[in-house]
C-alpha cells in the first residue's frame, strides 16, 4: 500500500570503482567541512553577549505601581480565577487611613503569592487584570532556585520597587531620562 508519492526508490547496485576507492567521497566530505570552517558561527558568547528575547516572550511577573508610586493591585482575585495552573493566591485587606500613598484603592493585597513551579507563564493573569497591575516582564526569566519554597514568590519579590531608577515600563528598565522625568513628576505631587 502506498500512502504518499514521496517514497524513495532504493537500488542496491554494487558500488562503482570510484565509490569503492573511498577517496572521492572523502574529498567531498572534506570540502563540506571546509565550507563550514568559514561559515558564520551559531555560538553566542553568553555573558558578554545576550541573545535578544522574542517580542512575545513572557517572563517573570511583576506587580506594577502607578505613576504616583501606589500599588495598583486591588486584590480582586481575577488573576487567580483566570490562572489555569492555580498558581496565584492572595489575601485581600482594607486600606487604613494614612495609607493613601501606598495603595491606590480602598482594597489591597495583604499578601500576593505566585508559585513559579506551577506557573506556566501563559499570561492569562495579565489579560485578566482590570487594573493593569500584574505583568509578565518581556526580558526577565524566573531564576533557578535550590529549594522548593523559594519558588513561591511573595510581594517582596513581585512588587515593583518604589525608586524611580529601579522602575520599569512593561518590565523594561527605565532609561535615566525617563526616571528623572518620573522623579520630577512625583515631586510635584502633593504628599
Amino acid at each position: 500500500m502506498q500512502l504518499t508519492n514521496r517514497a524513495k526508490k532504493l537500488e542496491k547496485k554494487p558500488m562503482t570503482l570510484a565509490e569503492r576507492a573511498y577517496l572521492p567521497a572523502i574529498f567531498q566530505g572534506l570540502s563540506i567541512t571546509m565550507r563550514h570552517f568559514f561559515m558564520k558561527k551559531a555560538t553566542v558568547r553568553y555573558p558578554e553577549e545576550v541573545r535578544p528575547f522574542s517580542p512575545v516572550f513572557r517572563g517573570l511577573h511583576v506587580l506594577k505601581r502607578d505613576e504616583q508610586g501606589r500599588e495598583r493591585c486591588t486584590a480582586c482575585g481575577l488573576c487567580a480565577v483566570a490562572c489555569p495552573a492555580e498558581a496565584i493566591t492572595m489575601v485581600a485587606g482594607e486600606r487604613k487611613k494614612g495609607e493613601e500613598g501606598l495603595y491606590r484603592e480602598e482594597k489591597y493585597a495583604i499578601s500576593y503569592e505566585i508559585n513559579m513551579l506551577r506557573c506556566i507563564f501563559c499570561g492569562l493573569c495579565e489579560e485578566a487584570c482590570p487594573k493593569a497591575a500584574v505583568y509578565l516582564q518581556p526580558d526577565k526569566i524566573a531564576p533557578p532556585r535550590y529549594e522548593r519554597d523559594e519558588f513561591v514568590y511573595g510581594k517582596d519579590r513581585l512588587v515593583e520597587p518604589v525608586s524611580p531608577d529601579a522602575r520599569s515600563v512593561r518590565g523594561i528598565q527605565l532609561t535615566p531620562e525617563q526616571a528623572n522625568a518620573l522623579r520630577n513628576k512625583l515631586a510635584q505631587q502633593p504628599a
Binding site: 572523502i26 572534506l30 567541512t33 571546509m34 563550514h36 570552517f37 558561527k41 558568547r45
Partner: protein, 360 residues
C-alpha cells in the same frame, strides 16, 4: 666569531627540537579544539587567556590534579612505564628530521638537524615501531581484559599499517638510493627546475603513506585503539591523570613527526620554489655574501618546512572532524588487501619507470 664544537651545536639543536616538539604538541591540543569548533560552526575555547590561548595550561593543570589511579593487581612499574615509553619513542623520532639546510657562522658549518645519520628513515621506522610497545605494555599492565583487547587491537593495527607504509616508502628509496632524510630532501631540489618534489613522482605512494600515517598515529578514521564510544576505550581505559595525558600527548607528538616526515619525504622538506634564483639574485644584485645569502635561504626554508608541517597537522585534524571510523574488519581489509598490494604495484611501476629512464 665563536668557535662552536659540532657536538655543542648538536645538543643545542636537539634541545630546541625537543622543546619545539613539546610546544607544538601542546598547542595541537588547542588547535584540535579550535578546528573542531570551526568545522562544526562553533567558537571553541575562548575563556582561558586571549582567544583561549592558555587553554593547554588549564588542561595540564586538570590532568596533573586528577586522582592517580592504579588498578588492583596491576603491575605498577610497567603501568608507569607504558606511557613513558610512548612519550620517549614519540620524542626520539624527531631527532633525525632535517628542519633546515646548513647555517654557517664564520668557519663553522652546521645542519639544522639533531643527528645527521645515513639511516635516518630506518631510525624513524624503528623508533615508531617501538612505540607499539608503549601501547601494548599499557594494555597488559592494566590487568583488565578489555584494556588488553584494546592493546591487541591497537598493536595489530599499527603493525599491519606499518607494512604498507614501509612498502610505499621503498618506492621513494628506490629513486633516492639513500636512507638519509637530508639526502632525500636535497635530491628534491634541482637548480632551475623547481617542481622536483617526490609527490609529483610518487602520487600513489604518497596516498598510501598518508593513509598509513593516519593509522600509525591512531587518528580518525583509524582511531579504534582510542574510541571510548563504541569500543569502551582501548589500551588506556585504566589510565587516569597525567599518565593518560602522556599517552594523548604522545599522539600529538606523533602527528607532528608524521607531518614532518611526510613533508620531508614527499613535499621537498626545507626546499621551496625559486630558492636558488633568490640566492643568486641576492648575491649578484644586492651584493650579499654567499654564506649569509645561504643562511637566509636556510631560515626561509625552515619556515617553509614548518608551514608544510602545520598544513599537514591541520589536514590531520580536518580529516578527524570529517570522517567516521572504520569498522575493525574494514580497517584490516583496507590495510592487507588494498594498501599492501597497491604499495607493491607502486614499487613495480617505480621500478619500471626507473628501468626505462622516465624518472631518475
Amino acid at each position: 666569531m665563536i668557535e662552536l664544537p659540532a657536538l655543542g651545536w648538536q645538543s643545542i639543536v636537539i634541545f630546541v627540537v625537543f622543546a619545539l616538539s613539546l610546544l607544538i604538541a601542546t598547542y595541537c591540543t588547542y588547535a584540535e579544539r579550535v578546528i573542531a569548533a570551526f568545522l562544526q560552526d562553533r567558537v571553541g575555547p575562548d575563556r582561558a587567556g586571549p582567544y583561549g590561548l592558555l587553554q593547554p595550561l588549564a588542561d595540564a593543570v586538570k590532568m596533573f590534579t586528577k586522582e592517580e589511579f592504579f588498578p588492583g593487581g596491576a603491575n605498577k612499574a610497567l603501568f608507569i612505564f607504558g606511557p613513558c615509553l610512548a612519550m620517549i619513542t614519540a620524542l626520539m623520532s624527531s631527532a633525525v628530521i632535517p628542519f633546515g639546510n646548513n647555517v654557517s657562522f664564520g668557519n663553522n658549518n652546521f645542519f639544522l638537524q639533531g643527528i645527521e645519520v645515513n639511516i635516518g628513515m630506518l631510525w624513524v621506522f624503528g623508533v615508531v615501531s617501538l612505540g607499539v610497545y608503549g601501547v601494548m605494555i599499557g594494555g597488559w599492565a592494566s590487568n583488565n581484559k578489555f584494556s588488553l583487547l584494546g592493546a591487541v587491537r591497537a598493536a595489530s593495527q599499527n603493525i599491519s599499517y606499518e607494512l604498507a607504509m614501509g612498502m610505499s616508502l621503498i618506492a621513494v628509496l628506490m629513486m633516492s638510493g639513500t636512507l638519509s632524510l637530508r639526502e632525500i630532501t636535497l635530491q628534491q631540489s634541482v637548480p632551475g627546475e623547481w617542481v622536483m618534489w617526490n609527490i609529483v613522482k610518487q602520487p600513489l605512494g604518497f596516498i598510501i603513506f598518508c593513509v598509513c600515517a593516519f593509522a600509525e598515529t591512531n587518528r580518525t578514521p583509524f582511531d579504534l585503539p582510542e574510541c571510548e564510544t563504541e569500543l569502551v576505550g582501548g589500551y588506556h581505559t585504566e589510565y587516569s591523570s597525567m599518565k593518560l595525558g602522556l599517552y594523548l600527548f604522545a599522539e600529538y607528538i606523533n602527528i607532528f613527526v608524521a607531518s614532518a616526515v611526510m613533508s620531508v619525504l614527499y613535499f621537498g622538506g626545507f626546499n621551496f620554489p625559486f630558492q636558488y634564483e633568490l640566492r643568486d639574485w641576492l648575491v649578484s644584485s644586492q651584493s650579499w655574501e654567499l654564506a649569509s645569502a645561504q643562511n637566509l635561504i636556510t631560515i626561509l626554508g625552515t619556515v617553509g618546512l614548518f608551514a608544510k608541517i602545520f598544513g599537514f597537522i591541520f589536514f590531520f585534524m580536518w580529516v578527524r572532524w570529517t570522517l567516521p571510523r572504520f569498522r575493525y574488519d574494514q580497517l584490516m581489509r583496507l590495510g592487507w588487501t588494498i594498501l599492501i598490494p597497491l604499495a607493491v604495484v607502486n614499487i613495480l611501476i617505480t621500478g619500471g619507470l626507473i628501468l626505462f629512464g622516465v624518472i631518475k
